[in-house]
């Protein structure tokens, strides 16, 4: 508990500063109405109608996010394993080799089916 309390100090300072800056932003500058300013910026080209509702985004990102979860969990297991490695010894090494190889099966599958390619 005592270890986490000081973070609160920094959190209050940081959040206070950020919220303050963001909320005074509309009041410090001038206001000159212009209809073009109300549109999304697209280099002067006609704004794309309905960028998200109708238009969809490549599902590619979902594979990235899923693989991110997979490897994140692997990392989460690797950290305590690394910390306690000297105590776990050879047994720990064997089980982690097995674990990594098993996860690499999924990784190799995704790679082979071009799940990691972007174009």
């Amino acid at each position: 508990m005592e270890l986490y309390a000081p973070i609160l100090v920094l959190a209050v300072l940081g959040a206070g500063f950020a919220v303050f800056s963001v909320s005074i932003a509309p009041f410090t500058g001038p206001k000159r109405w212009n209809r073009a300013k109300l549109d999304a910026y697209e280099c002067g080209i006609d704004p794309t109608p309905q960028p998200i509702g109708g238009g969809r985004f490549p599902l590619k990102y979902m594979i990235t996010a899923m693989l991110f979860i997979v490897f994140d969990i692997e990392i989460i297991f690797l950290y305590p394993w690394a910390v306690a490695f000297d105590k776990l010894g050879v047994f720990g090494l064997v089980e982690m080799v097995l674990f990594i190889v098993t996860v690499l099966v999924a990784y190799a599958y995704v790679w082979r089916r071009r799940g990691l390619d972007w174009d």
């Binding site: 973070i7 410090t28 549109d39 991110f68």
Partner: protein, 455 residues
């Protein structure tokens, strides 16, 4: 820093050879000491951003034979202050379609975690602050490095939400792209820490610094030669991989894809134009640079400890002096960031993702297993360990060679294709239907290379 002058500059009670504070030294500060430390870190980060922007512009100008900012203040030092003021006085644009709540929240979400991550970066040993003994680090915890990773994973929300709230295609694409990039490089970054934890046996930042205090000595011809203790030297592959992921993690050149202005204008903060909200994004970017530099210093470059020739002097790692080593290291890494920015072009997005997923991650895993087997060998030397080590080495080499041969084959195939095309064009210059002038026309530097006088 006023603290330096007001607080009594006393040596820490620890003996010169002691490795420095550990986890047990934290959690005893009275509230006002915590407030002072938090305030100093906060001010340090804000001033760091101001100074960092100036230093970056100045350095990069010098590298490009320009002067850089030199009007506002001495050496242009006040340039960033002026820019900040200007941002405050700019009109705050808010497009009609944006989601107002999240549009406001995104700059806050991106900047606060960046600042918070600095609370576990150790900056010095135990010192006496107004008669109270306390380590120069806001706090430490058994999972400090995980805390830094957690903060950076919250920071990604700022990017995604800023992109989404803007409801413009550039912003959304920029947000998705850069969040996918940041999470991809976060994996490689997280993996590059594992070897450090294998050696240090702890996740607490102050203890990792303490572990790098002394690398032991080797006796050669009767001389005691101190061995390197920094993990950057002991674990060079981890360090190199970390340095590469650093750039991907904070969206800096050569991986500054979200700001690939040729394709995405300004990426996820396109709609934040130029007001104080945009200033928050800028602040978060620089603070993130300081955070990854701080992590590099702490995990790989010996933390606040003095570099080698200086560390032979007993007084180098005592009292307030180590703050100087820490800041010097941070500034050097920041200069490295600028140097890279001045030297390298931006990579393409598919190259960036392929590099992160197909190169850094498998290399990293192979390296971790290698380090672990060596480590196991130190714990016990038995036949199963040797067999296991052989398997791991062969496996790692197999991964590497497969990777290498595939690359080699691709490169050869591409060269062959180009050669073929040239062959075809040499025989028949109009092949392919392009309106190409024949290469042996007299006014070209073609067959007989004769200059034709103009007019």
């Amino acid at each position: 820093m006023s603290l330096l002058t007001t607080a009594s500059v006393l040596a820490s009670p620890a003996a010169p050879g002691s490795p420095g504070p550990g986890l047990a030294d934290f959690g005893h500060d009275p509230v006002w000491i915590s407030i002072i430390k938090g305030l100093v870190i906060f001010v340090f980060l804000l001033l760091g951003v101001l100074f960092g922007v100036w230093l970056e512009r100045k350095l990069i100008s010098r590298m490009q034979h320009r002067y850089g900012p030199n009007r506002a203040g001495k050496f242009g030092l006040l340039q960033t202050v002026a820019d900040g003021l200007k941002m405050g006085l700019k009109e705050d644009l808010m497009p009609r379609k944006v989601d107002k709540v999240i549009f406001f929240l995104a700059p806050v979400i991106i900047s606060v975690p960046a600042i918070l991550a600095y609370s576990v970066i150790p900056m010095g040993p135990v010192v006496s602050m107004f008669g109270h003994k306390t380590p120069l680090q806001l706090t430490d915890m058994p999972v400090a490095v995980l805390f830094i990773l957690a903060m950076s994973s919250i920071g990604v929300y700022g990017i995604v939400l800023a992109g989404w709230a803007s409801k413009s295609p550039y912003a959304i694409l920029g947000g998705l792209r850069s969040s996918a990039q940041v999470v991809s490089y976060e994996i490689a970054m997280g993996l590059s820490f594992v070897a450090v934890f294998l050696y240090a046996g702890t996740l607490s930042t102050s203890e990792i610094v303490a572990k790098q205090a002394d690398g032991g000595t080797a006796t050669l011809f009767g001389l005691d030669i101190p061995l390197p203790s920094w993990y950057a030297i002991l674990l060079i592959p981890s360090f190199l991989i970390y340095v590469m992921t650093m750039f991907g993690e904070v969206n800096r050149v050569p991986f500054d894809l979200p700001e690939g202005e040729g394709e995405l204008v300004a990426g996820y903060h396109t709609e934040y134009s130029s007001s104080l909200k945009f200033a928050m994004f800028q602040l978060a970017e620089y603070v993130n640079v300081f955070v990854v530099s701080g992590v590099a210093v702490t995990l790989f470059l010996g933390g606040w400890r003095a570099p080698w020739p200086i560390s032979l002097w007993d007084g180098a790692n005592v009292g307030w002096l180590p703050l100087l080593w820490f800041f010097a290291k941070i500034v050097l890494i920041f200069c490295f960031f600028v140097w890279v920015r001045a030297s390298l072009p931006r990579v393409r997005y598919d190259q960036l993702m392929a590099f992160g997923w197909k190169v850094l991650i498998p290399l990293n895993l192979a390296w971790i297993l290698l380090v672990a087997t060596f480590r196991a060998l130190r714990v016990e030397q038995s036949t199963p360990v040797f067999i296991l080590m052989a398997i791991v080495v062969i496996g790692a080499l197999a991964v590497f060679f497969r990777f290498d041969t595939v690359q080699q084959r691709r490169r050869e195939a591409r060269a062959e294709q180009i050669e073929e095309e040239f062959e075809q064009l040499r025989e028949e210059p109009t092949a392919g239907g392009f309106p190409v002038p024949p290469l042996d026309l007299p006014h070209y530097h073609g067959a007989n290379r004769k200059e034709v006088p103009s007019a």
